[in-house]
Symmetry: C2
Subunit: 382 residues, 2 copies
Amino acid sequence: MKIIDSTPQKDGFRMPAEYEPHEATIMIWPVRAGSWGKDPSKAQHSFKAIFAEIVKSEKLILLADKEHIDDTKACVCDLPNVEVLEIASNDSWARDVAPTYVKDDLGNVRAVNWEFNAWGGQVDGLYADWSLDNKIPLNICQMRDTDMYDAAPFVLEGGSIHTDGEGTAIVTESCLLSKGRNPELTREQIEEKLKQYLGISKVLWLPRGIYMDETNEHVDNVCAFVGRGQVVLATTDNKDDPQYELSRLDMEYLEGQTDAKGRKITVYKLPIPDHPVLVTKSDVDSFEFEEGEDIREEGERLAASYVNFYFTNDEVLIPAFGGDNAESDDRAAEILQGICKTRKVVQIPARQILLGGGNIHCITQQLPVRDPGTVKNMMRFE
Amino acid sequence: MKIIDSTPQKDGFRMPAEYEPHEATIMIWPVRAGSWGKDPSKAQHSFKAIFAEIVKSEKLILLADKEHIDDTKACVCDLPNVEVLEIASNDSWARDVAPTYVKDDLGNVRAVNWEFNAWGGQVDGLYADWSLDNKIPLNICQMRDTDMYDAAPFVLEGGSIHTDGEGTAIVTESCLLSKGRNPELTREQIEEKLKQYLGISKVLWLPRGIYMDETNEHVDNVCAFVGRGQVVLATTDNKDDPQYELSRLDMEYLEGQTDAKGRKITVYKLPIPDHPVLVTKSDVDSFEFEEGEDIREEGERLAASYVNFYFTNDEVLIPAFGGDNAESDDRAAEILQGICKTRKVVQIPARQILLGGGNIHCITQQLPVRDPGTVKNMMRFE
C-alpha cells in the first residue's frame, strides 16, 4: 500500500452510497467496559446478530486486539465469510474509526484517513485516549494492501457524513461546526475538504441531529439516503418532545433543497421510539469508567433513533429497542420496508448497542466492491 | 453434477426473487436471422449495452455455439468478468431456455430443468426445431458442475414465472393454460408442479399479459415483483387501446389478492409506450426466416412493455424504444426509479430486442449467489 499525495476529487474517486454493492463490512469486537459494561456479553450478543446477517451477503472484516483475538476467533468460528484482523482499538465504533472508502469509474477502491479525536478531543471528547483508534485506518490499509489518502489533520468521523454516490453529501452543522473538531476552519473551508476527500460537489447542511446525541449529533442518527434524491428523517409528532424542534428545523431546511444532480429531496419521516429509552440503575451499575471518560447516569435519555440502520447487500438492519417500544419498533421496520422494497428489513435487538453510545450504523463501515473495471470501447457495433 | 431425483420443495429449496443478490447473469450471443435479421449487429449492439451494465456488479455467463464462439470471445474481449461457454442454441432467449435456479437456507444453489418447446410446440410454437435450446440446462449444469432437478416433461419457460422469494409465484392463465404446453394437466396440477419445483406455496394467476405477445403472454412482459408484496403492472389509460382491457382484468384480479405471507399486493402502474411500436418494411426486409418459423409482417404491432426490465446487483435495466416514444421511455424510467430507490435505473435501447420477439428480461437469467452458509448456534451469548 501507499499513502497517496493527492485527493480523491483530483483522481476521480467518490464515496459510493451505502446501498451500492459491498465487498465487506468492517466491525470491531466490543470489550470496553465504559461502553459495554463489565460483562460485555449482552452487547456482544447484538453484535453477533449483526455478524450473522452481514455474512449472508458479504464478507465481515472483524477487528480485535491481541488480548481478545483468540476469544474473537472462537466466537465467530461458526460463521462463514469472516476475516479477523489483529488490530488494537480504544472502542468499537467502526463507522467512525475505520477508513472511509472511495471508488473510481474503473472500479478501483482506495481508503481515506481522517483525524479522529474521540468526538471532540479536549473540548468535549468522550474518552481521554484515542491513540489506538486513530491508527486503525493505516493498520487496515497496510494489512489489506489498500492505497490511502490522508485527510488528517482534518477531524471527521464516518458517522458524521452520508453520501448518495452521485455528488451529494449530507451532514449536520451541530457536528461539523462543533468547537471540538476543526475550530480553525470556516464552514466554507470544511465544505471544501468534504468535496476534496469525498469526491462530491454539494453538501447539504442539516441544522441539527438527535436530542442528547453525544457525538454532537451525527447525521447518521437523524437522516440517511435511501435512494437518489431520497432521504429518511427521524421525527416525532409529539410537540412536547425536545426532538420535535430539532427535526422541524431539519425538515424545514430539506424542503428547500436539491441534490448535486438538481433533484428535489424527497423526505420520508421515520418516527423515533414513542417512549424515551432511559438509562436504568442496573445499566449504571454494570459500567466501569476510566478517568476522563464520559459517564452514564440513571434516568439519562439515550439518543434512540431508527435512522441508525445499515444496508447490507441484501438487507437493511434496523434497531429494535423492545419493551414499551415494541410497537414503535415494528412501525419503523414497516416504514423502512415500504421504502426499501428490494431489501429485506431485519430487526436487531439494539438497546445494548444504544447504551454503548450509538447504534447499528455506528458500529459498521462498508467497503465497496472493487468492480472488475468499466467497459470502454463499447461502440464496436455502431 | 448429478440429476436429483426429488423436488426443490421436498429438499427445502426455493427460487429467490430476482432482486436478491446474483452471482451471475446468463445470456446467449444473438445470431439467428429470423430473430435478429441477416445483419444481427444492431441487436448485438443492444446485447453489448446490457453486458456492459451486468459486468459492473456481477459475472456474465455468455453462451455461443462452436461456429460463433471465436467471434463472441473477440466481441467481449474488452469486458471484464465474462465466462464464455461453448453451448449451442436455437436462439438467444436465455430467460426461457437456461435453467431456473433455486437455493436453500444453507446457501446451496441448484438448477431446475423444464421441458422447452419453443413456446407452444406443434400447436403454436415459434420455430420448428428447438432441440438445441432444450439441452441448454443440462449443458450449463455439466460445464459448471451444478446439481439439477428435472421437471421435464413439464413444459415451462422462465419468462412465464416471477417469484418473490418468499413463497409466492405470479403467472398468467393465458400462457400456463395454453394448449401448446401442458394440455393434459389441469390448472390444479400445473399449480402443484410450480409449488414443487419453485419451492413456493401460493400462485397468483393473472388472466392476461401484453397484447400481441407471441409467448401466449408471458408474465415477465406484463407484471413483475419489485419488492415483498409489491408488483408493477403494464397499463394504459387509453380505452381504445387493446391493452386496456387486458390490463384492467389483471388489475381487477390483483386487487383482491394477498401473497403467500398474507400481505395485500400493492400494484404500481407502469404505462406502456404512448405509441404502438410497429414493424416497418425495412425491418421485414432485414429478416430471413426458416421453414416453420413464425414470421414478421409490415405494420404488425410488437408487444412493447417497460415491465420487461431486469435487476442486476446494482441497477435496473429498462427498455427504451426511442422515436416518438422517447417521452414514454423517460416516464417509465422515472416511475421505476421512484420505486426501486436503491438501484440505478439504466435505459437500454431495446427496439432491436423487441423486434426479435422479447425484451431485456427475456434474454437474461439470474444465477443467485451461493451464500457462504447460514449461521446456526448463534445463541452462544444468551
